[in-house]
Symmetry: C2
Subunit: 317 residues, 2 copies
């Protein structure tokens, strides 16, 4: 078996790529500004050139590669390597990405959803190492998820599995972007958390967030709320407890359904740290069935922004 | 490969067993009144005797069996064949059922949860035939579930997966038997449906249910509500629509998480028929993400009370 693969994480802002060895170590990396390329053809040409550069720098050739794995922020037909659409990257509709890149590179190419690959990366080389069954969620603008079963990715019937963010938190609730109502994401997605805090500040709640922002509420982000929580700000702590409680309720359902060994939580919001994780764990303890609740470990993702590229390469290991 | 197995469904009222061939056909069957046996030893001795009788009647011997599969209503450690406890069958705590029966029978024995085996039976030989990924739920006193992945049972880390009934329908809701709040089962379990209807009748709602029961509300069961719904009784129809809506909300979450090919619905309440299934399907259409919602078929279980015994035998095929 070949010892190297290229992992690519195609994002709305940056496209990151790296040469990864079969122990999950990144040997050489590169980064492209996705939106600077006017067409997808231009972006793909630049990606191919960067792969060449990374290989040259590592004194390797395409022949040394097991393959090229690429994660994209959207819906993919994994078997065919077809990208149905990308969220936040215009111009990508029904793109036969696997076929296009294989024609250019002459090495095997696999295409998958980016959160799936983050889950695969964490389960092989990160916080989920050794777990046969795990669920990985990312907390950010949206709430994504990936499912590991028997050590491999579970993709479902249309490569669409893992949408933890669109599981119902409430039977009847607020309208979600997806068209449904009451979805977890509608209550814990970045912008909704920010809006909730803004409303409370506007209605006069005392908080250190005001000073941190020097009064400019438009600059409020989850990072600022986390910074305030670390300074023991009551409003910020209360926010993460509420968010953790909501995530914990939905995860209790996931845990009762799948009885996983690990839940791995990543994404920007995971940086809120212990206050968030404690609320999640306490809620799971209270709500999940004891057998499954006691069996699961809820841990923070460990590979950070590299999980996606490492997971993309791991498709070949 | 041997062509026959014994399938056993150990229930609180009856223990059913059958000789099943590898195409899932029942060749010969027997039934024991579970609660008539004072101890589990007495019940197991009777089961062994019945296996002998069924084999004799079929002109076969233990040597013709691939094995004996047994489904029980409770929590089981599948690999070890250990029954942790049974719901509604007293005296079963930490019973090494596989070991005990293998010592008596000298053939391989496998022990699993009864709803898991119903799911396996339906997926191999019933409504789920051909589906690689499916979720099977049973609607009755409780709401149980079993998960089929890649054609086989998915049991999770502690053989406890599939608890669809204890997924949260509401973030904050009524106290459930399991210790949590807002669980689906707390809103659609038999007794809760019956109680809701009784309350409405007592508060004066006109309904055909009254005549069907000749005024004796204590006789109300889901079957009576179904009978009234078939006679176009508004209260009964409204009841099944509400129940179907609730089940549909939770199933939308299951569908968004697992993107299954089929959802198979069995148990007594499934007999409510089209009015219930239409409400479930309409809700899934409204709430699930389109890709996964369009990919899934929601169907009624087909093997009825035989699903468990056929599934128990299917552990060997």
């Amino acid at each position: 078996m070949k010892k190297y693969a290229i992992g690519i994480d195609l994002g709305g802002t940056y496209t990151k790529l790296a040469l990864v060895d079969k122990s999950g170590r990144i040997r050489c990396r590169a980064k492209l500004p996705t939106s600077a390329y006017k067409t997808k053809e231009a972006l793909l040409t630049a990606i191919v050139a960067e792969i060449g550069a990374v290989l040259k720098e590592s004194r390797l050739t395409l022949k040394d590669l097991a393959g090229v794995g690429i994660g994209v922020p959207g819906l993919v037909a994994f078997e065919r390597g077809l990208v149905y659409y990308l969220t936040n990257v215009p111009g990508w509709k029904n793109v036969a990405l696997k076929k296009i890149l294989e024609a250019k590179l002459k090495v095997p190419v696999l295409v998958d959803n980016d959160v799936n690959l983050m889950a695969l990366g964490e389960s092989r080389f990160g916080a989920g190492k050794g777990a046969r069954n795990a669920v990985c969620i990312t907390l950010g603008t949206g709430v994504g998820g990936g499912i590991i079963i028997d050590g491999g990715l579970y993709r479902g019937t249309s490569s669409a599995a893992g949408e933890v963010g669109h599981m119902p938190l409430k039977e009847e609730g607020l309208k979600c972007n997806c068209g449904s109502t009451g979805c977890l994401e509608r209550y814990v997605g970045n912008r909704y958390i920010v809006d909730e805090i803004k409303d409370k500040i506007k209605s006069g709640r005392a908080t250190k967030i005001r000073e941190l922002l020097r009064g400019d509420l438009s600059l409020l982000t989850p990072e600022v709320i986390s910074a305030a929580a670390k300074r023991k700000d009551a409003l910020a702590i209360e926010c993460w407890r509420r968010v953790g409680g909501r995530i914990g309720v939905t995860l209790s359902g996931v845990i009762n359904l799948l009885n996983p060994e690990k839940i791995i939580i990543g994404g920007g919001m995971a940086e809120a740290g212990e206050v968030l994780f404690k609320a999640i764990r306490d809620t799971v303890k209270e709500r999940a069935l004891p057998v499954s609740g006691n069996a699961v470990k809820i841990v923070k993702a460990r590979l950070g922004n590299d999980a996606g590229i490492v997971g993309a390469a791991a498709l070949f290991f």
